[in-house]
Symmetry: C2
Subunit: 488 residues, 2 copies
C-alpha cells in the first residue's frame, strides 16, 4: 500500500472489487468493515472493536493452549536500555534500523543518560532478567510468554500486515537441553498450525526458513505460510530456536546435574494481529470479508423485516421467543434494528463477513421459521425455530469446515512443481501460488531467484535425506526441496 | 520506598515482619512471594507469573462486566504526537512532568520532526481519533476501553504502586447527554467497588475527590479508597466525568435530534496493577501475603508427606484418586512434589498466601482423609476425600467472606470522627485510619491540613444537603463532610 492511502482518512464510499484491484479491495474492506484504520500518527493503526474482537478470540485460544503445557505469562518492561539491545550482534544488526528511541523525559524534556529502545521484540530485556531466576537445572525449563505491543519503525505500511505498532504474543523459553528447546519450537509450531487451520480456516505450509530469512540471532526459524486469494504467501507465525546464542550474549547459565555451569538453550516465537489481515485476505470476495465462525465477533445476524409498527411488534415478539436460546447456547448474535432498508443491511453484514444471516418477516413468524442465508454459498434455507440453537451450532461448525475446505482447494489449485529458474520466472509473470522446486543451498542462487523472479522468495526449505533433483538456479545437486512464492 | 532498594537485586533471604517495618515487609513479600521485581531498567518493574495471574483474574472479571453493559475494547496507538498532547491545557499541565518522549528512530537514530509521547494516559489520542466515528446522536454513546500499559516518569518508585510503567485498563466514553455521562461514571464506580470488595475482599470508601485532587481536565473525579494494614489509604480506582472539556479541546461533536452540532460529554476511568499491591497490603501478616480465593492463582496447595519411596507411591496413588475431582470442579490447585522438607513447604505457601493447604500423609491415605489448614486462622481440620471438591469449593467461598469481614472490621476499628485540625494532627501523630470531619471548601485550608498533619490528605468529599458542622481548619460553616487519611 502506498503511504498516501494512509493519509486519506475520509469515509470509504464504495468498496473496490477484489477482482478489480486486490490491494485496494483489502484496504477498503478492512476500513469499511470497521476492523482498523490509520490513526493519524504516521504508520500506526487503531484497531476497532470488530477487528479487536477477532484478535481477542485468537488470544484466548492460544493462551489456553500454552497454559495447558505449562507456559506462564509475565510482564516485561516496554523500554530497553541501549546497552542491553547491543549485546547480541546479529540480533541488533537485524533490528537496529527499526528501533524507536526514548531519549528525553519529564517536565523539561531532559535528555536521558542512556537512550531507551521501545521494544521491537523482547529477547534483549528478557535475557538479562530471566537469568536471575535460573540457578540450577531444577529451575528449568522456564516457559515464559507475554501479550503486548511492539514498535518497529517500518517505512512502508499496510493495515494489520505492516505498521509501526502491532500487537502480539512473544514466547521466550529456556531449557537445559538442546533437544528439549528444539521440541518446544516444534510444539509451538503445532499450536500455530491449529490457530491458523482450526480457528482461522487457513491451511498452512510449514517448514524451516533459509539462513537468509532466519530471525536475527537464531539457529533456525520455523514458519507457517498461508496463501492469500491474490496468490501471495503470508507468514502467519514463526518459532525460533536460538541454541545458546542468546544465552552466551547474556550469560544465562545453570548448574547441571554434575554441578557444572552450562549455558541454557533458548527459543522465541510469536503470532500477531497480522493474523486478522490474513483471515481477510484468505477468505474474502467481491462482497467483503468472510469471518470464520470460531473467531467471528458476530456469528449470526438477525435482520427483521416489517412495514409498520404493528409488523415490527409482531416480528420482535417472534424473535424474542427464540433469541434467548441462542444466547444460552453461546452463539454470538445480534438483531439489527437500525433504521435502514433490509437490502442495505444485507450488504452491510455481507461486507463484515458474518457467517449466517437470518431474515425474519411477519410470514416467517406465522410459520414459526426463519430464512437462513449463508455468507459463503448465499443459499437460502428455511429453518424452523424449534431447536434453532442446536441447528445454528451445527451450521456454524459446517461453515467453518466449508471455509477451510475452500481455502484448501485454493491452495491445492495454486501449488506447482517446477524445475528451472526460467520456468519459475515465467510462472510468476503469469500467476501466483506456491511453487515447489530444488535448491543447492547457496545464498547467491537464492538472491538470484529474488532478483529475476520479481521478488519471489524461498518460503520454506526441507532438507532432503537422499539428495535428488537439481538446483533450479545452478543445476548442481540440490540439498533442499524449497517452496517459493511472492509474499507480503 | 527508597531508590536504593530498587537497585538491590539479590535474593531476599528473610522476610521482614510486618509488625517490625511495614514498608520493608511489603517489598520483601512482593519479591519473595514471586509477584514482581525491579527490572534493572530504572523505575520499571517485571511482573512475575504469580503476580500477573492475579491481574489476569481481575482483568477477566472486569472485562466481563463492561462487555455485558455494551463497552467495546479498542487498541489505540502507544505514541502520541506532542501537538495532540498539548490541546487540553489543564491535562497537559498535570501530565507533562511525567512524559517520556520518543525523539529518534531508525538505523541512524534520526531525529523525528515532532517528538512522540509514550502515552501516560490516552485521552489526547482517543479524542482526535474517536471524532471520526461520531457523526450523529445515533453514533452515541461510544463506550470504548483498552487494556495496555502506560509510562509515567515517576521519580519515587514502589513495586505495583508507583513505577514508570504500569498495566491498566482505560475506559473512555462519549455521550450525547451530561446526565448519561455522569451515570456512566457512577456505573463504573460500582463495577470497581465489586472488583475491590467481591474479588479482592477490600472494603472501600467511595466518593468525590476535592478539586485539588481531581484528574487534570476533569469536572469531577470519583474515587475508591481502601485501607491498608498500616493504616494508610490506597486509591484503588478512579472514574472521571469530563463534561465537555475534552470535547471542546478536540472538537468531538455530533448532530443532535434537532440537527444542530453539539459537543459530546465524555468520561474516563481506570484500574491498574496497583490493585495487586493493594491486596498484598490489605490482607498480609507476619508470615506473608494472603490471596483472596477469587483471584488466587493457586487456591489449594497439596503437600504430600512421606518417608521413603514406598510411602511416596502410596500417597501419590491416594492423591491421584481425588485430585482430578478438584480439576473438574475448576479449583486451581497444585501438588508440591519438590524435594524440600514439609515444614519449609508450609512456610513457602504461607508466604505466597495460598488460601487452603492440604497435608497428605500415609495415615491420611488409610483413613481416606486429608488435613486441611486455612491460611487465615491456621486451624487444622480433617476432611474426608469423599465429596472433597464440593467441600473445598465451600471452604474457598467461606475464606473469601472471612477475609472481607476481617478487612471490614479493620476498617471499622480504624475509622474516626474528629472536629478540629488539632485533633486531627494529634490523631495522625499516633495512628492511621480514616478520619471523618468537615471542610469549608477552601483550598488554603485543604493545604493546611496536608502541611500540619504530616501529609494527611482529603480522600473523599461529600456535599451536604443541609450544612451542619464547622470546617476543621477555619471553623466556618462546612460545605463538605470529608474523609482524611495518609495515603500511598
Amino acid at each position: 500500500m502506498k503511504q498516501e492511502t494512509e493519509e486519506k482518512q475520509d469515509f470509504v464510499k464504495e468498496v473496490t472489487k477484489m477482482s478489480d484491484d486486490f490491494d485496494r479491495w483489502y484496504t477498503d474492506v478492512v476500513r469499511k468493515a470497521e476492523l482498523a484504520d490509520w490513526s493519524g500518527v504516521r504508520g500506526m493503526m487503531v484497531v476497532r472493536p470488530y477487528g479487536w474482537a477477532m484478535w481477542e478470540a485468537i488470544t484466548r485460544a492460544f493462551d489456553d493452549m500454552i497454559k495447558e503445557s505449562g507456559h506462564e505469562n509475565w510482564a516485561f518492561p516496554l523500554l530497553i536500555p541501549r546497552e542491553y539491545l547491543m549485546k547480541e550482534a546479529e540480533h541488533i544488526e537485524g533490528f537496529a534500523p527499526e528501533v524507536a528511541w526514548v531519549t528525553r523525559a519529564g517536565g523539561n524534556m531532559e535528555e536521558l543518560e542512556e537512550p531507551l529502545a521501545v521494544r521491537p521484540t523482547s529477547e534483549t530485556i528478557i535475557g538479562p532478567l530471566i537469568k536471575r531466576y535460573i540457578q540450577s537445572h531444577r529451575d528449568l525449563p522456564k516457559l515464559t510468554n507475554q501479550w503486548n505491543s511492539v514498535v518497529r519503525w517500518e517505512m512502508r505500511s499496510r493495515l494489520f500486515l505492516r505498521s509501526r505498532e502491532f500487537w502480539w504474543q512473544e514466547g521466550h523459553t529456556f531449557h537445559a537441553y538442546a533437544q528439549e528447546a528444539m521440541d518446544e519450537v516444534a510444539l509451538i509450531l503445532g499450536y500455530y498450525r491449529a490457530i491458523a487451520e482450526d480457528w482461522l480456516a487457513i491451511p498452512v505450509l510449514t517448514g524451516k526458513k533459509s539462513p537468509a530469512e532466519t530471525f536475527p540471532g537464531a539457529v533456525h526459524t520455523l514458519t507457517l505460510e498461508g496463501l492469500m486469494r491474490d496468490g501471495q504467501a503470508l507468514q502467519t507465525g514463526t518459532s525460533h530456536y536460538f541454541g545458546q546464542n542468546f544465552s552466551r550474549a547474556y550469560d544465562i547459565s545453570f548448574s547441571n546435574k554434575d554441578n557444572e555451569r552450562e549455558l541454557c538453550y533458548s527459543t522465541s516465537w510469536g503470532i500477531s494481529t497480522r493474523l486478522v489481515g490474513a483471515l481477510v485476505m484468505a477468505h474474502g470476495d467481491d462482497s467483503g470479508i468472510i469471518v470464520p465462525p470460531k473467531v467471528a465477533p458476530i456469528q449470526v445476524i438477525v435482520v427483521p423485516i416489517f412495514r409498520d409498527d404493528e409488523g415490527r411488534a409482531k416480528v420482535e415478539r417472534f424473535i424474542n421467543s427464540w433469541a434467548p436460546d441462542l444466547k444460552a447456547a453461546g452463539i454470538r448474535h445480534r438483531v439489527d434494528w437500525r433504521d435502514e432498508r433490509p437490502g442495505d443491511k444485507y450488504a452491510h453484514w455481507e461486507l463484515k463477513g458474518v457467517p449466517l444471516r437470518l431474515n425474519v418477516g411477519g410470514r416467517d413468524a406465522d410459520a414459526g421459521q426463519v430464512e437462513m442465508v449463508d455468507r459463503l454459498t448465499r443459499q437460502k434455507v428455511s429453518v424452523p425455530v424449534s431447536g434453532i440453537a442446536a441447528r445454528l451450532g451445527d451450521e456454524l461448525d459446517g461453515f467453518q469446515k466449508k471455509l477451510f475446505e475452500r481455502a484448501q482447494k485454493f491452495q491445492r489449485d495454486n501449488t506447482f512443481e517446477l524445475e528451472t529458474l526460467e520456468e519459475v520466472v515465467a510462472h510468476f509473470r503469469e500467476r501466483g501460488g506456491f511453487v515447489w522446486s530444488h535448491w543447492c543451498g547457496e545464498e547467491a542462487d537464492e538472491a538470484r531467484i529474488k532478483a529475476e523472479a520479481g521478488g519471489v522468495t524461498i518460503r520454506t526449505i526441507e532438507e532432503m535425506n537422499k539428495p535428488s533433483g537439481k538446483c533450479l538456479v545452478c543445476g548442481k545437486p540440490a540439498k533442499y526441496r524449497v517452496s517459493l512464492a511472492k509474499a507480503y
